[in-house]
């Protein structure tokens, strides 16, 4: 449950934002934030959950155990991917269901809307999980999680999650559009908000083909790079490296 509490906090914040309006439109800002936050949730769940598992379980020896067992690494990764996806979906539902009840302006736009919603979730997870594996492999110390969180928080700021991206300077808009967080938010908005809201987006459009394209691009990059990084990490895992990390962790506590 602790894992889902940020989702609930965000939901409460959005409820308080109901009164605020989207600039230039008579539409609740809270209602537009909900789909964006759902998109952000996929990015978070995909990247951070998996990264965190890899960092923590590398320290306690779970990964080394997996390495000692035939096909153990593959089994371990499949398990963690399923688990991270499950947590992400659970968090998503915890926001989506109350959101659909409280914000009557938010709704799935028919069969097409459902298809878009499912597509964004699936492609989003495929795009972000490999990135999580890469992050988790590169940072060996769970206490360095802050280093990972910091740039991601910055990215959220320029990804149009809590405020329309068109209100930002153009160069920041470009940075935001490089990363999947923006596209996940946009994809979710296109599935859950009325068509008129596209007016505050870049190009006054939901840009669904571009969304799909960018997310698939990230998926391809991730799926190519992640196995290489994971293999390198697994190769370097050894009894002495686990012992050294434990030693370091003990020093910090003591």
């Amino acid at each position: 449950m602790a894992r889902s509490s940020p989702n609930i906090i965000l939901l409460v914040v959005m409820l308080f934002m109901r009164g605020a309006k989207v600039p230039g439109l008579n539409f609740s800002l809270g209602a537009t934030v909900l789909p964006s936050v759902l998109g952000m949730g996929i990015a978070f769940g995909g990247m951070l959950t998996l990264a965190q598992y890899l960092m923590v379980e590398r320290e306690d020896g779970t990964l080394l155990r997996a390495k000692a067992i035939p096909n153990g690494m593959t089994g371990y990764l499949v398990g963690k991917i399923v688990l991270a996806s499950g947590w992400t979906l659970l968090g998503l539902l915890l926001q989506l269901i109350p959101g659909l009840i409280f914000f009557n302006q938010v709704g799935v736009n028919g069969v097409g809307g459902w298809l878009v919603l499912v597509a964004v979730i699936v492609v989003g997870l495929v795009a972000t999980l490999p990135l999580g594996a890469i992050l988790g492999s590169l940072f060996s110390n769970p206490r360095n999680m802050g280093l990972v969180m910091f740039p991601i928080m910055g990215l959220i700021g320029v990804s149009g999650i809590f405020y329309p991206i068109t209100q930002l300077p153009v160069w920041l808009q470009w940075i935001g559009q490089i990363f999947p967080i923006y596209w996940l938010g946009l994809g979710m908005r296109s599935a859950l908000l009325p068509g008129q809201l596209a007016a505050v987006e870049i190009g006054h459009s939901w840009r669904q083909p571009e969304t799909l394209g960018m997310l698939l691009l990230w998926a391809v990059i991730g799926l190519v790079v992640a196995p290489m990084v994971l293999r390198r990490m697994a190769r370097r895992e050894s009894g002495s490296s686990v012992a050294a990390r434990r030693e370091k962790a003990m020093q910090r506590v003591g």
């Binding site: 306690d60 020896g61 155990r65 067992i69 035939p70």
Partner: protein
């Protein structure tokens, strides 16, 4: 990944060993903390599944989980969570995980560090059973020379990163000091004599004094004495200090 040199484990370089090769190995390191939320039997059954494709007629893999739990003496804790086990129980579970695939070669890294005497004895019995029952080679490292003497068929002593001795416990003691200490009493008086030819010395002693000899004791140097002597010899023969010296025992 090795830092230098060449390694061959079951005929393969560990860096390029495949999954089938991995299935023939068992590894037990010091103080593992993983899988704390799993139940003992569940974890063994789950990890055993990975070995099914590598089962052979000679080595049916994996070991049946219930049998395995009994072998390491954890039957009454089979449904406990791994995180709730005591140190000794946890280590026995680690051994169980190490042997769940019926390995041909089992590595034990200082398996009895921090054990109380009872746990240590139980663990030694377990190692004896493993070594006697199956065709499993066990390689264990230890700082405890009594343990090495008790368990090992062949002992390698490492000092400063080099093998300085190699042989059975008996060979090592013989090789190092052919001398034995002979103690006896005669007419209420105690005598001590050190000789390289202890058997002949004792025979001569009896020829000379016959029934007057009592409390006879012939003591060869223990492995610990041998070890100390070897390490000392090594250190004096070498200018640079040896930071880490440890004994490695192979069974």
């Amino acid at each position: 990944m090795r830092s230098a040199g060449q390694v061959s484990v079951l005929g393969q370089d560990p860096a390029s060993g495949g999954e089938a090769w991995r299935a023939r190995l068992g590894i037990v390191l010091q103080s593992w903390r993983d899988h704390g939320k799993w139940k003992v039997r569940e974890l063994l059954a789950h990890l055993g599944e990975y070995y099914v494709p590598y089962s052979t007629a000679r080595d049916p893999r994996p070991w049946d989980p219930d049998e395995l739990v009994a072998t390491v003496g954890l039957t009454e804790h089979a449904n406990k969570k791994v995180g709730q086990l005591s140190g000794g129980q946890r280590r026995r579970l680690d051994v169980a995980i190490g042997i769940v695939g019926r390995p041909e070669l089992l590595f034990l890294d200082e398996p009895t560090v921090g054990f109380d005497p009872e746990a240590r004895r139980e663990f030694h019995d377990l190692v004896h059973r493993l070594a006697d029952g199956d065709h499993t080679t066990i390689l264990l490292t230890t700082h405890d020379l009594d343990e090495a003497e008790k368990l090992a068929d062949r002992i390698l002593i490492l000092a400063g990163g080099k093998v300085i001795a190699n042989g059975s416990p008996d060979e090592l003691t013989r090789q190092m000091s052919g001398e034995a200490e002979i103690r006896w009493t005669r007419d209420g008086q105690r005598f001590v004599h050190t000789s390289t030819e202890s058997t002949r010395y004792v025979r001569e002693l009896f020829q000379q004094y016959g029934d007057k000899i009592g409390d006879l004791e012939v003591r060869r140097a223990s492995l610990e004495d041998t070890y100390m002597a070897m390490v000392q010899q090594f250190e004096t023969g070498q200018t640079s200090g040896t930071a880490a010296t440890f004994a490695e025992a192979a069974r």
